[in-house]
Amino acid sequence: MVERKEIEHLGDLVKVDLSEPEKYIKQVEQILNYFDRLDKVEFPSDDTLRTQITTDGLRDDVYEPYGDSLIGHLKKDQNNFIRAPKMV
Protein backbone atom coordinates (compact mmCIF):
# COMPACT_ATOMS: atom_id res chain seq x y z
CA MET A 1 0.00 0.00 0.00
CA VAL A 2 1.25 3.42 -0.92
CA GLU A 3 0.07 6.03 1.52
CA ARG A 4 -0.46 9.73 1.18
CA LYS A 5 2.50 10.38 3.48
CA GLU A 6 4.73 8.30 1.23
CA ILE A 7 3.67 10.04 -1.96
CA GLU A 8 4.28 13.38 -0.28
CA HIS A 9 7.74 12.25 0.82
CA LEU A 10 8.52 11.19 -2.76
CA GLY A 11 7.23 14.55 -3.95
CA ASP A 12 9.59 16.18 -1.48
CA LEU A 13 12.54 14.10 -2.72
CA VAL A 14 12.00 15.02 -6.36
CA LYS A 15 10.93 18.54 -5.33
CA VAL A 16 7.50 18.74 -6.89
CA ASP A 17 4.53 20.33 -5.16
CA LEU A 18 1.74 17.82 -5.55
CA SER A 19 -1.48 19.77 -5.59
CA GLU A 20 -3.48 16.56 -5.75
CA PRO A 21 -1.38 13.74 -4.24
CA GLU A 22 -4.41 11.41 -4.29
CA LYS A 23 -4.30 11.45 -8.08
CA TYR A 24 -0.92 9.75 -8.02
CA ILE A 25 -1.41 7.33 -5.15
CA LYS A 26 -3.54 4.82 -7.02
CA GLN A 27 -1.51 4.94 -10.23
CA VAL A 28 1.86 4.65 -8.54
CA GLU A 29 0.59 1.81 -6.41
CA GLN A 30 -0.82 -0.02 -9.42
CA ILE A 31 2.46 0.28 -11.29
CA LEU A 32 4.55 -0.75 -8.27
CA ASN A 33 2.33 -3.81 -7.86
CA TYR A 34 3.07 -4.64 -11.46
CA PHE A 35 6.83 -4.21 -10.79
CA ASP A 36 6.55 -6.79 -8.02
CA ARG A 37 6.70 -9.51 -10.66
CA LEU A 38 10.45 -8.88 -10.69
CA ASP A 39 10.53 -10.68 -7.32
CA LYS A 40 9.59 -13.94 -9.00
CA VAL A 41 12.34 -13.92 -11.61
CA GLU A 42 15.00 -16.56 -11.23
CA PHE A 43 18.16 -15.01 -12.55
CA PRO A 44 20.71 -17.28 -14.19
CA SER A 45 23.49 -14.85 -13.22
CA ASP A 46 24.18 -11.60 -11.38
CA ASP A 47 25.42 -9.95 -14.57
CA THR A 48 24.20 -6.48 -15.44
CA LEU A 49 24.62 -4.69 -18.73
CA ARG A 50 27.03 -1.74 -18.72
CA THR A 51 29.21 -0.16 -21.36
CA GLN A 52 32.93 -0.31 -20.65
CA ILE A 53 35.91 1.80 -21.55
CA THR A 54 39.65 1.43 -21.03
CA THR A 55 41.60 4.28 -19.50
CA ASP A 56 43.09 4.97 -22.95
CA GLY A 57 39.62 6.00 -24.12
CA LEU A 58 39.24 8.69 -21.47
CA ARG A 59 39.65 12.42 -22.03
CA ASP A 60 43.18 13.83 -21.84
CA ASP A 61 43.71 16.40 -19.12
CA VAL A 62 43.86 19.51 -21.28
CA TYR A 63 42.37 22.89 -20.42
CA GLU A 64 40.27 24.27 -23.28
CA PRO A 65 38.23 27.35 -22.42
CA TYR A 66 34.60 27.19 -23.57
CA GLY A 67 34.65 29.36 -26.66
CA ASP A 68 31.44 31.24 -26.04
CA SER A 69 30.69 33.01 -22.78
CA LEU A 70 28.19 30.53 -21.39
CA ILE A 71 26.97 32.77 -18.59
CA GLY A 72 25.55 35.09 -21.25
CA HIS A 73 23.04 32.34 -22.07
CA LEU A 74 21.91 31.85 -18.47
CA LYS A 75 19.83 33.78 -15.92
CA LYS A 76 22.21 35.99 -13.94
CA ASP A 77 22.62 39.24 -12.05
CA GLN A 78 24.76 42.23 -13.09
CA ASN A 79 27.85 40.62 -11.52
CA ASN A 80 27.32 37.37 -13.44
CA PHE A 81 26.23 35.48 -10.36
CA ILE A 82 23.30 33.11 -10.68
CA ARG A 83 20.63 34.00 -8.17
CA ALA A 84 18.88 31.48 -5.94
CA PRO A 85 16.41 32.00 -3.13
CA LYS A 86 17.59 32.09 0.47
CA MET A 87 18.46 28.76 2.04
CA VAL A 88 16.70 29.46 5.40
Binding site: K15, V28, D39, V41, K75, R83, A84
Partner: protein, 483 residues
Protein backbone atom coordinates in the same frame (compact mmCIF):
# COMPACT_ATOMS: atom_id res chain seq x y z
CA UNK B 1 6.80 19.61 -57.45
CA UNK B 2 6.29 16.38 -55.54
CA UNK B 3 6.99 16.74 -51.83
CA UNK B 4 6.45 12.99 -51.46
CA UNK B 5 9.81 12.02 -52.96
CA UNK B 6 12.37 10.27 -50.80
CA UNK B 7 15.36 12.10 -49.33
CA UNK B 8 17.72 10.17 -51.61
CA UNK B 9 15.63 11.12 -54.69
CA UNK B 10 15.71 14.73 -53.53
CA UNK B 11 19.50 14.66 -53.39
CA UNK B 12 19.84 13.32 -56.92
CA UNK B 13 17.30 15.82 -58.30
CA UNK B 14 18.92 18.74 -56.49
CA UNK B 15 22.37 17.62 -57.63
CA UNK B 16 21.23 17.51 -61.26
CA UNK B 17 19.45 20.84 -60.98
CA UNK B 18 16.05 19.26 -61.70
CA UNK B 19 14.67 21.02 -58.65
CA UNK B 20 15.73 24.15 -56.85
CA UNK B 21 16.39 23.72 -53.17
CA UNK B 22 14.83 27.07 -52.35
CA UNK B 23 11.67 26.13 -54.21
CA UNK B 24 11.47 22.77 -52.48
CA UNK B 25 11.99 24.29 -49.05
CA UNK B 26 9.44 27.04 -49.76
CA UNK B 27 6.91 24.43 -50.91
CA UNK B 28 7.58 22.41 -47.79
CA UNK B 29 6.99 25.50 -45.65
CA UNK B 30 3.72 26.11 -47.50
CA UNK B 31 2.73 22.54 -46.81
CA UNK B 32 3.50 22.99 -43.09
CA UNK B 33 1.42 26.13 -43.07
CA UNK B 34 -1.43 24.27 -44.71
CA UNK B 35 -1.52 20.99 -42.78
CA UNK B 36 0.22 21.54 -39.47
CA UNK B 37 -2.69 23.37 -37.90
CA UNK B 38 -4.43 20.00 -37.99
CA UNK B 39 -1.51 17.67 -37.37
CA UNK B 40 0.56 19.78 -35.00
CA UNK B 41 3.79 17.96 -35.74
CA UNK B 42 5.91 21.06 -35.09
CA UNK B 43 6.65 23.06 -31.96
CA UNK B 44 8.92 25.52 -33.79
CA UNK B 45 9.28 26.20 -37.53
CA UNK B 46 12.48 28.01 -38.50
CA UNK B 47 11.20 29.31 -41.86
CA UNK B 48 13.49 32.26 -42.50
CA UNK B 49 16.76 30.49 -41.71
CA UNK B 50 15.65 27.48 -43.74
CA UNK B 51 14.97 29.64 -46.78
CA UNK B 52 18.24 31.58 -46.40
CA UNK B 53 20.19 28.37 -46.17
CA UNK B 54 18.36 26.94 -49.20
CA UNK B 55 19.29 29.99 -51.27
CA UNK B 56 22.93 29.67 -50.27
CA UNK B 57 22.95 26.03 -51.31
CA UNK B 58 21.31 26.80 -54.67
CA UNK B 59 24.08 29.34 -55.33
CA UNK B 60 26.69 26.74 -54.46
CA UNK B 61 25.08 24.25 -56.82
CA UNK B 62 25.06 26.78 -59.64
CA UNK B 63 28.67 27.81 -59.09
CA UNK B 64 29.66 24.14 -58.69
CA UNK B 65 31.14 24.67 -55.23
CA UNK B 66 31.62 21.79 -52.88
CA UNK B 67 28.32 20.86 -51.23
CA UNK B 68 27.53 18.53 -48.36
CA UNK B 69 25.81 15.28 -49.26
CA UNK B 70 22.36 16.42 -48.02
CA UNK B 71 22.05 19.21 -50.62
CA UNK B 72 19.74 21.22 -48.39
CA UNK B 73 17.21 18.51 -47.61
CA UNK B 74 14.70 19.87 -45.09
CA UNK B 75 14.59 17.82 -41.88
CA UNK B 76 12.51 18.04 -38.76
CA UNK B 77 14.28 17.37 -35.47
CA UNK B 78 12.63 16.06 -32.34
CA UNK B 79 12.53 18.90 -29.86
CA UNK B 80 14.68 17.10 -27.29
CA UNK B 81 17.76 17.34 -29.52
CA UNK B 82 19.74 20.55 -29.00
CA UNK B 83 19.96 22.97 -31.91
CA UNK B 84 22.01 26.12 -31.52
CA UNK B 85 19.87 29.22 -31.87
CA UNK B 86 16.53 27.37 -32.14
CA UNK B 87 14.48 26.62 -29.05
CA UNK B 88 14.75 23.12 -27.60
CA UNK B 89 11.68 22.81 -25.39
CA UNK B 90 11.34 19.06 -24.79
CA UNK B 91 7.60 19.87 -25.07
CA UNK B 92 7.77 21.11 -21.50
CA UNK B 93 6.78 24.30 -19.76
CA UNK B 94 10.10 23.92 -17.88
CA UNK B 95 12.06 24.60 -21.09
CA UNK B 96 9.51 26.61 -23.07
CA UNK B 97 12.07 29.36 -23.74
CA UNK B 98 15.28 27.33 -23.66
CA UNK B 99 17.71 27.95 -26.50
CA UNK B 100 20.71 25.63 -26.35
CA UNK B 101 24.00 27.44 -26.97
CA UNK B 102 25.30 24.46 -28.90
CA UNK B 103 24.34 21.84 -31.48
CA UNK B 104 24.00 18.18 -30.62
CA UNK B 105 26.68 16.12 -32.37
CA UNK B 106 24.08 14.63 -34.73
CA UNK B 107 23.01 18.17 -35.65
CA UNK B 108 26.50 19.48 -36.31
CA UNK B 109 27.19 16.42 -38.48
CA UNK B 110 24.00 17.03 -40.48
CA UNK B 111 24.78 20.74 -40.87
CA UNK B 112 28.26 19.88 -42.08
CA UNK B 113 26.53 17.87 -44.84
CA UNK B 114 24.27 20.84 -45.67
CA UNK B 115 21.03 19.50 -44.24
CA UNK B 116 18.43 22.16 -43.38
CA UNK B 117 16.68 22.13 -40.02
CA UNK B 118 13.20 23.24 -40.98
CA UNK B 119 11.77 22.96 -37.49
CA UNK B 120 11.54 21.19 -34.18
CA UNK B 121 9.08 18.32 -33.86
CA UNK B 122 6.55 17.68 -31.13
CA UNK B 123 6.96 14.89 -28.57
CA UNK B 124 5.64 13.66 -25.28
CA UNK B 125 7.12 15.88 -22.57
CA UNK B 126 10.79 14.88 -22.17
CA UNK B 127 10.03 11.88 -24.45
CA UNK B 128 7.94 10.19 -21.77
CA UNK B 129 4.98 8.63 -23.50
CA UNK B 130 4.00 6.61 -26.54
CA UNK B 131 1.23 8.75 -28.03
CA UNK B 132 2.57 12.35 -28.16
CA UNK B 133 -0.46 13.37 -26.12
CA UNK B 134 1.70 14.43 -23.16
CA UNK B 135 3.11 17.55 -24.82
CA UNK B 136 2.87 20.90 -23.04
CA UNK B 137 2.04 22.35 -26.46
CA UNK B 138 -0.82 19.93 -27.16
CA UNK B 139 -1.00 16.56 -28.92
CA UNK B 140 0.16 15.65 -32.41
CA UNK B 141 -2.40 13.92 -34.61
CA UNK B 142 -1.95 10.95 -36.92
CA UNK B 143 -1.86 12.23 -40.54
CA UNK B 144 -3.64 9.06 -41.72
CA UNK B 145 -6.59 9.81 -39.48
CA UNK B 146 -6.61 12.97 -37.40
CA UNK B 147 -8.67 11.40 -34.63
CA UNK B 148 -5.90 8.92 -33.93
CA UNK B 149 -2.60 9.19 -32.09
CA UNK B 150 0.59 9.19 -34.18
CA UNK B 151 2.47 7.01 -31.68
CA UNK B 152 5.28 8.43 -29.64
CA UNK B 153 7.15 9.85 -28.13
CA UNK B 154 8.64 11.01 -31.47
CA UNK B 155 5.12 11.57 -32.81
CA UNK B 156 5.97 14.94 -34.35
CA UNK B 157 8.88 13.37 -36.24
CA UNK B 158 6.79 10.46 -37.53
CA UNK B 159 3.82 12.62 -38.48
CA UNK B 160 5.92 15.32 -40.18
CA UNK B 161 7.61 12.75 -42.42
CA UNK B 162 4.33 10.98 -43.21
CA UNK B 163 2.56 14.26 -43.99
CA UNK B 164 5.36 15.51 -46.32
CA UNK B 165 6.22 18.38 -43.96
CA UNK B 166 9.89 17.43 -44.28
CA UNK B 167 11.96 14.79 -46.05
CA UNK B 168 13.12 12.98 -42.96
CA UNK B 169 13.52 13.46 -39.24
CA UNK B 170 15.57 12.56 -36.22
CA UNK B 171 13.76 11.14 -33.22
CA UNK B 172 14.98 9.49 -30.07
CA UNK B 173 14.12 6.00 -28.94
CA UNK B 174 14.15 5.14 -25.23
CA UNK B 175 11.54 2.38 -25.26
CA UNK B 176 10.23 2.47 -28.82
CA UNK B 177 9.83 6.21 -29.32
CA UNK B 178 11.14 6.12 -32.90
CA UNK B 179 9.55 2.82 -33.94
CA UNK B 180 6.11 3.42 -32.44
CA UNK B 181 5.41 6.59 -34.46
CA UNK B 182 7.10 5.02 -37.50
CA UNK B 183 4.65 2.13 -37.26
CA UNK B 184 1.58 4.28 -36.55
CA UNK B 185 2.43 6.82 -39.28
CA UNK B 186 3.57 4.32 -41.93
CA UNK B 187 7.19 5.46 -42.19
CA UNK B 188 10.56 3.79 -41.50
CA UNK B 189 12.19 4.25 -38.08
CA UNK B 190 15.46 2.83 -36.75
CA UNK B 191 16.59 2.39 -33.16
CA UNK B 192 20.35 1.87 -33.57
CA UNK B 193 22.63 -0.14 -31.30
CA UNK B 194 23.33 1.66 -28.00
CA UNK B 195 26.59 3.50 -28.60
CA UNK B 196 26.35 3.73 -32.41
CA UNK B 197 25.16 7.34 -32.37
CA UNK B 198 26.30 10.15 -30.11
CA UNK B 199 23.88 11.28 -27.42
CA UNK B 200 25.73 14.56 -26.93
CA UNK B 201 23.00 17.16 -27.18
CA UNK B 202 20.15 14.69 -26.77
CA UNK B 203 18.33 15.75 -23.62
CA UNK B 204 18.52 12.72 -21.35
CA UNK B 205 15.47 10.83 -20.19
CA UNK B 206 16.79 7.30 -19.57
CA UNK B 207 20.40 7.67 -20.59
CA UNK B 208 21.48 4.03 -20.21
CA UNK B 209 19.13 2.79 -22.94
CA UNK B 210 18.22 5.60 -25.34
CA UNK B 211 19.54 6.47 -28.78
CA UNK B 212 18.87 9.03 -31.48
CA UNK B 213 17.28 7.36 -34.50
CA UNK B 214 16.39 8.41 -38.04
CA UNK B 215 12.79 8.40 -39.30
CA UNK B 216 12.24 8.58 -43.06
CA UNK B 217 10.01 7.46 -45.90
CA UNK B 218 12.33 4.71 -47.08
CA UNK B 219 14.96 2.31 -45.81
CA UNK B 220 17.47 3.93 -48.23
CA UNK B 221 16.87 7.30 -46.58
CA UNK B 222 17.45 5.82 -43.14
CA UNK B 223 20.71 4.23 -44.33
CA UNK B 224 21.73 7.54 -45.91
CA UNK B 225 21.14 9.46 -42.65
CA UNK B 226 22.80 6.77 -40.57
CA UNK B 227 25.98 7.18 -42.63
CA UNK B 228 26.09 10.81 -41.54
CA UNK B 229 25.11 10.66 -37.88
CA UNK B 230 26.66 7.39 -36.67
CA UNK B 231 30.14 6.83 -35.30
CA UNK B 232 32.38 7.54 -32.36
CA UNK B 233 32.08 10.98 -30.78
CA UNK B 234 34.74 12.31 -28.39
CA UNK B 235 31.92 14.17 -26.60
CA UNK B 236 30.14 10.94 -25.64
CA UNK B 237 32.14 8.29 -23.80
CA UNK B 238 29.42 5.72 -24.43
CA UNK B 239 29.84 5.80 -28.23
CA UNK B 240 31.59 2.83 -29.75
CA UNK B 241 34.71 3.12 -31.82
CA UNK B 242 34.03 0.46 -34.44
CA UNK B 243 35.21 2.04 -37.64
CA UNK B 244 33.24 3.46 -40.53
CA UNK B 245 30.53 1.36 -42.15
CA UNK B 246 28.75 2.40 -45.37
CA UNK B 247 25.12 1.49 -44.78
CA UNK B 248 23.99 2.55 -48.25
CA UNK B 249 26.35 0.31 -50.14
CA UNK B 250 24.99 -3.22 -50.78
CA UNK B 251 21.63 -2.21 -49.32
CA UNK B 252 19.92 -4.38 -51.96
CA UNK B 253 21.94 -7.41 -50.98
CA UNK B 254 18.76 -9.42 -50.40
CA UNK B 255 17.86 -11.95 -47.78
CA UNK B 256 18.31 -15.25 -49.53
CA UNK B 257 19.74 -17.94 -47.25
CA UNK B 258 19.22 -15.90 -44.09
CA UNK B 259 17.42 -17.17 -41.04
CA UNK B 260 14.74 -15.20 -39.25
CA UNK B 261 13.40 -15.99 -35.78
CA UNK B 262 9.75 -15.23 -35.06
CA UNK B 263 9.56 -14.07 -31.43
CA UNK B 264 6.76 -16.18 -29.89
CA UNK B 265 6.18 -13.73 -27.01
CA UNK B 266 5.43 -10.89 -29.43
CA UNK B 267 2.91 -12.44 -31.76
CA UNK B 268 0.60 -14.44 -29.49
CA UNK B 269 -1.76 -13.25 -26.82
CA UNK B 270 -2.74 -9.59 -26.72
CA UNK B 271 -1.83 -8.91 -30.35
CA UNK B 272 -4.50 -7.34 -32.52
CA UNK B 273 -5.83 -9.79 -35.11
CA UNK B 274 -5.12 -7.59 -38.09
CA UNK B 275 -1.63 -6.88 -36.77
CA UNK B 276 -0.98 -10.61 -36.31
CA UNK B 277 -2.24 -11.40 -39.76
CA UNK B 278 -0.08 -8.67 -41.33
CA UNK B 279 2.93 -10.07 -39.51
CA UNK B 280 2.23 -13.55 -40.84
CA UNK B 281 1.93 -12.16 -44.35
CA UNK B 282 5.27 -10.44 -43.96
CA UNK B 283 6.86 -13.65 -42.75
CA UNK B 284 5.58 -15.67 -45.70
CA UNK B 285 6.73 -13.00 -48.15
CA UNK B 286 10.22 -13.11 -46.65
CA UNK B 287 10.18 -16.89 -46.89
CA UNK B 288 9.23 -16.63 -50.55
CA UNK B 289 12.30 -14.45 -51.07
CA UNK B 290 14.61 -17.13 -49.69
CA UNK B 291 14.65 -16.59 -45.93
CA UNK B 292 14.11 -19.43 -43.50
CA UNK B 293 11.76 -18.52 -40.63
CA UNK B 294 11.64 -20.40 -37.32
CA UNK B 295 9.92 -19.64 -34.02
CA UNK B 296 12.15 -18.39 -31.21
CA UNK B 297 11.08 -18.11 -27.60
CA UNK B 298 12.64 -15.40 -25.41
CA UNK B 299 10.96 -15.88 -22.05
CA UNK B 300 12.85 -13.02 -20.37
CA UNK B 301 10.59 -10.70 -22.35
CA UNK B 302 7.85 -11.37 -19.80
CA UNK B 303 9.80 -9.23 -17.33
CA UNK B 304 10.75 -6.54 -19.79
CA UNK B 305 7.97 -4.01 -19.15
CA UNK B 306 8.57 -4.04 -15.39
CA UNK B 307 12.34 -3.80 -15.93
CA UNK B 308 12.00 -1.06 -18.52
CA UNK B 309 9.75 1.19 -16.46
CA UNK B 310 11.88 0.66 -13.37
CA UNK B 311 15.03 1.76 -15.18
CA UNK B 312 13.40 4.52 -17.19
CA UNK B 313 11.64 6.10 -14.23
CA UNK B 314 14.70 5.81 -11.97
CA UNK B 315 16.94 7.49 -14.51
CA UNK B 316 14.29 10.06 -15.37
CA UNK B 317 13.95 11.13 -11.76
CA UNK B 318 17.68 11.87 -11.69
CA UNK B 319 18.04 13.29 -15.22
CA UNK B 320 15.21 15.77 -14.72
CA UNK B 321 16.48 17.02 -11.36
CA UNK B 322 18.48 19.78 -13.04
CA UNK B 323 15.33 21.63 -14.09
CA UNK B 324 15.06 23.87 -11.04
CA UNK B 325 14.53 27.13 -12.94
CA UNK B 326 17.62 28.78 -11.47
CA UNK B 327 20.03 28.79 -14.44
CA UNK B 328 17.43 28.63 -17.24
CA UNK B 329 13.73 27.99 -17.52
CA UNK B 330 10.56 30.01 -17.66
CA UNK B 331 10.15 33.42 -16.03
CA UNK B 332 9.58 32.98 -12.34
CA UNK B 333 11.13 35.34 -9.79
CA UNK B 334 12.91 34.00 -6.72
CA UNK B 335 11.78 36.85 -4.48
CA UNK B 336 9.93 35.87 -1.37
CA UNK B 337 10.73 32.18 -1.72
CA UNK B 338 12.92 29.84 0.24
CA UNK B 339 15.00 27.47 -1.91
CA UNK B 340 13.03 24.25 -1.46
CA UNK B 341 9.67 25.97 -1.81
CA UNK B 342 10.81 27.79 -4.94
CA UNK B 343 12.14 24.67 -6.65
CA UNK B 344 9.09 22.59 -5.71
CA UNK B 345 6.79 25.31 -7.00
CA UNK B 346 8.70 25.71 -10.26
CA UNK B 347 8.83 21.96 -10.79
CA UNK B 348 5.10 21.56 -10.26
CA UNK B 349 4.93 22.74 -13.89
CA UNK B 350 6.02 19.34 -15.14
CA UNK B 351 3.12 17.48 -16.73
CA UNK B 352 1.40 14.53 -15.04
CA UNK B 353 3.23 11.74 -16.86
CA UNK B 354 6.67 13.21 -16.08
CA UNK B 355 5.66 13.76 -12.47
CA UNK B 356 4.36 10.21 -12.22
CA UNK B 357 7.63 8.77 -13.52
CA UNK B 358 9.75 10.95 -11.24
CA UNK B 359 7.74 9.77 -8.22
CA UNK B 360 8.07 6.15 -9.35
CA UNK B 361 11.78 6.65 -9.96
CA UNK B 362 12.31 8.14 -6.51
CA UNK B 363 10.46 5.19 -5.02
CA UNK B 364 12.42 2.44 -6.78
CA UNK B 365 15.74 4.11 -5.89
CA UNK B 366 14.84 4.64 -2.23
CA UNK B 367 17.17 3.15 0.34
CA UNK B 368 16.26 -0.47 0.82
CA UNK B 369 14.47 -0.81 -2.52
CA UNK B 370 17.46 -0.68 -4.86
CA UNK B 371 17.93 -4.44 -4.67
CA UNK B 372 14.24 -5.11 -5.11
CA UNK B 373 13.72 -2.98 -8.19
CA UNK B 374 16.63 -1.34 -9.92
CA UNK B 375 19.20 -4.08 -9.49
CA UNK B 376 16.71 -6.73 -10.61
CA UNK B 377 15.76 -4.62 -13.60
CA UNK B 378 19.45 -4.43 -14.52
CA UNK B 379 19.71 -8.20 -14.25
CA UNK B 380 16.68 -8.57 -16.52
CA UNK B 381 18.60 -6.56 -19.10
CA UNK B 382 21.54 -8.96 -18.92
CA UNK B 383 19.16 -11.92 -19.04
CA UNK B 384 17.43 -10.63 -22.17
CA UNK B 385 20.77 -9.93 -23.80
CA UNK B 386 22.00 -13.44 -22.98
CA UNK B 387 18.87 -14.97 -24.50
CA UNK B 388 19.25 -12.78 -27.58
CA UNK B 389 22.89 -13.82 -27.94
CA UNK B 390 21.73 -17.44 -27.89
CA UNK B 391 19.04 -16.69 -30.46
CA UNK B 392 21.48 -14.91 -32.78
CA UNK B 393 23.61 -18.06 -32.81
CA UNK B 394 20.69 -19.70 -34.60
CA UNK B 395 19.25 -16.85 -36.65
CA UNK B 396 20.39 -13.65 -38.38
CA UNK B 397 17.29 -11.64 -37.60
CA UNK B 398 14.27 -11.58 -35.35
CA UNK B 399 10.84 -10.41 -36.42
CA UNK B 400 7.69 -9.16 -34.69
CA UNK B 401 4.96 -6.60 -35.17
CA UNK B 402 6.32 -3.20 -34.08
CA UNK B 403 3.22 -2.43 -32.02
CA UNK B 404 0.87 -5.14 -30.78
CA UNK B 405 -2.12 -2.93 -31.52
CA UNK B 406 -3.40 -0.58 -34.18
CA UNK B 407 -3.26 3.18 -33.66
CA UNK B 408 -5.97 4.25 -31.22
CA UNK B 409 -7.92 7.44 -30.72
CA UNK B 410 -6.53 10.52 -29.03
CA UNK B 411 -7.59 10.47 -25.37
CA UNK B 412 -8.51 6.78 -25.43
CA UNK B 413 -5.77 5.48 -23.15
CA UNK B 414 -4.52 8.68 -21.54
CA UNK B 415 -5.95 7.88 -18.11
CA UNK B 416 -4.58 4.38 -17.73
CA UNK B 417 -0.80 4.60 -17.59
CA UNK B 418 -0.15 0.91 -16.96
CA UNK B 419 -2.25 -0.13 -19.94
CA UNK B 420 -0.30 2.31 -22.07
CA UNK B 421 3.03 1.02 -20.70
CA UNK B 422 2.09 -2.51 -21.72
CA UNK B 423 1.81 -1.51 -25.40
CA UNK B 424 5.62 -1.00 -25.38
CA UNK B 425 6.19 -4.72 -24.92
CA UNK B 426 7.52 -5.32 -28.45
CA UNK B 427 9.83 -2.33 -28.67
CA UNK B 428 11.56 -2.16 -25.28
CA UNK B 429 13.53 -5.40 -25.80
CA UNK B 430 15.86 -3.57 -28.16
CA UNK B 431 16.43 -0.77 -25.64
CA UNK B 432 17.03 -3.02 -22.66
CA UNK B 433 19.48 -5.20 -24.59
CA UNK B 434 21.04 -2.43 -26.68
CA UNK B 435 20.49 -4.23 -30.01
CA UNK B 436 19.21 -2.43 -33.15
CA UNK B 437 15.62 -2.67 -34.36
CA UNK B 438 13.77 -1.13 -37.26
CA UNK B 439 10.10 -0.58 -38.01
CA UNK B 440 9.12 -0.94 -41.66
CA UNK B 441 5.65 0.13 -42.87
CA UNK B 442 3.99 -2.98 -44.22
CA UNK B 443 0.24 -2.70 -44.65
CA UNK B 444 -2.98 -0.93 -43.76
CA UNK B 445 -5.75 -2.17 -41.54
CA UNK B 446 -9.29 -2.48 -42.84
CA UNK B 447 -9.98 0.89 -41.23
CA UNK B 448 -7.06 2.47 -43.07
CA UNK B 449 -4.59 2.59 -40.17
CA UNK B 450 -0.91 1.75 -40.71
CA UNK B 451 0.72 -1.49 -39.52
CA UNK B 452 4.51 -1.69 -39.14
CA UNK B 453 6.73 -4.74 -38.92
CA UNK B 454 9.78 -4.81 -36.69
CA UNK B 455 13.09 -6.49 -37.49
CA UNK B 456 15.97 -6.94 -35.04
CA UNK B 457 19.62 -7.85 -35.57
CA UNK B 458 22.49 -8.32 -33.17
CA UNK B 459 24.50 -5.34 -31.84
CA UNK B 460 26.20 -3.24 -34.52
CA UNK B 461 24.65 -5.32 -37.33
CA UNK B 462 22.77 -2.30 -38.73
CA UNK B 463 24.07 -2.95 -42.22
CA UNK B 464 22.52 -6.43 -42.33
CA UNK B 465 19.39 -5.14 -40.58
CA UNK B 466 18.87 -2.47 -43.22
CA UNK B 467 19.36 -5.06 -45.97
CA UNK B 468 16.52 -7.18 -44.56
CA UNK B 469 14.36 -4.09 -43.98
CA UNK B 470 14.87 -3.14 -47.59
CA UNK B 471 13.59 -6.54 -48.74
CA UNK B 472 10.53 -6.16 -46.53
CA UNK B 473 9.90 -2.66 -47.87
CA UNK B 474 9.99 -3.93 -51.47
CA UNK B 475 7.29 -6.52 -50.70
CA UNK B 476 4.83 -3.95 -49.41
CA UNK B 477 2.38 -1.93 -51.47
CA UNK B 478 1.15 1.07 -49.56
CA UNK B 479 -1.26 3.86 -50.47
CA UNK B 480 -0.32 7.54 -50.89
CA UNK B 481 -1.42 9.74 -48.06
CA UNK B 482 -4.36 11.97 -48.85
CA UNK B 483 -4.19 15.16 -46.89
Amino acid sequence: MNLGISAVEFVSQAKEGVISVEEFVAKTLDRIKKVDEKIHAFITVDAQNALDKARTIDKKIKSKEKIGSCFGMPLSIKDNICTEGIKTTCASKMLENFVAPYDATVISRLKLEDAIIIGKANLDEFAMGSTTEFSYFGPTRNPWNLEYVPGGSSGGSGASVAAYECLASLGSDTGGSVRSPASFCSVVGLKPTYGLISRYGLVSYANSIEQVGPIAKTVEDVAFLLNIISGHDPHDNTTANNGYVDYVQDLKHGISGKKIGIISQMIGEGVDKEVASATNTAISKLQNLGAECIPISLDAIEHSVAAYYTIASAEASSNLARYDNLRYGFDFGIEGYEFKAFVSKARSNFGPEVTRRMLLGAFVLSAGYYGKYYLKAQKVRAMIKAQLDEAFKKVDYLISPTMPILPFKVGEKIDDPLKLYLTDINTITANLSGIPAISVPFSMSSSGLPIGIQLFANSFKEKELLQAAHVLQETSNLPEISL
